[in-house]
């Protein structure tokens, strides 16, 4: 009886010392199929998404002219991951960023603050209130994307890949005053 009890104690101790890492890739595609605009990323990795109104269109392969080269250097290894480079719409992206366990609570709040700041700058740009150029905004956008990707790429590669795929599409939404106005409403 004592041997059995000792064995159970030992098992409990071993279990206590074992650390199970959260299965972060699961959190990535978890929400993707719930959105009608987002393709089932795991099932059809290469299939392009259909562009929808209010949703991010598929990224152009070499559609950037103004962004810094360093941005591509960091982003490209993530894009090459075989796991689904699905394009996200903004709602799905927001939901997945909220759900991911790769980023802590305060980091998420800080990122949200910085996204809000960037949107404020776009607003000022379109209202002509600030001496900003679209190139300045693009630089800020790229920097923010890099911050998000650097936080995600180690622990939630699926979401990082999806963001890389949606990067140009989101930029196009922001860079067009008409679509930006629809985002505001």
């Amino acid at each position: 009886m004592r041997v059995l009890y000792a064995a159970v104690l030992l098992l409990l101790l071993v279990a206590a010392c074992t650390r199970v890492k959260p299965d972060t890739p699961v959190s990535g595609p978890k929400n993707a199929p719930t959105q009608p605009g987002a393709p089932p990323s795991a099932a059809k990795p290469a299939a392009p998404a259909k562009p929808q109104p209010g949703a991010a269109a598929p990224a152009a392969p070499s559609g950037r002219a103004t962004g810094p080269k360093a941005a591509d250097k960091v982003a490209s290894p993530v894009a090459k991951t075989p796991a689904a480079a699905s394009t996200l719409d903004l709602k799905t992206l927001e939901a997945q960023l909220k759900d991911t366990k790769a980023i802590g609570f305060f980091t998420k709040i800080t990122l949200k603050n910085q996204v809000d700041d960037l949107l404020d700058r776009f607003r000022q740009y379109y209202q002509g209130k600030a001496k900003l150029t679209l190139t300045d905004l693009r630089r800020s956008y790229d920097l923010l994307m890099l911050k998000v990707l650097s936080l995600l790429q180690d622990e939630d590669q699926m979401l990082a890949s999806a963001i890389v795929s949606s990067r140009e599409a989101i930029w196009r939404l922001l860079a067009d005053p008409k679509t930006f106005a629809t985002l505001e409403g």
Binding site: Y5, L12, L13, C17, R19, G104, F106, T107, I109, T110
Partner: protein, 85 residues
Amino acid sequence: MKTLAAAWAQSLVVAAFLAVPSFADDEEALKKDLTAVIALHGLPCGQVIAVKVLAESDYAVSCKDGNKYRVYMNTGGRVVVEKQK
């Protein structure tokens, strides 16, 4: 009766062993979170090595490079990082 008490004592020891890694994981997660927050604000830190809870969503943070910060959420919902002397 004596055996029962001994079994309870052993169970408490096991429970304590189970609880310690959980607290340690929470602490590490908070340090990682605050390290990322300080980096997002563009401030030097390297890595958070110690955290003291001042209030809810209000922390005094010590960094590996010797810098100290207060990280808190203000009433407007913004995360603020203040350098401390």
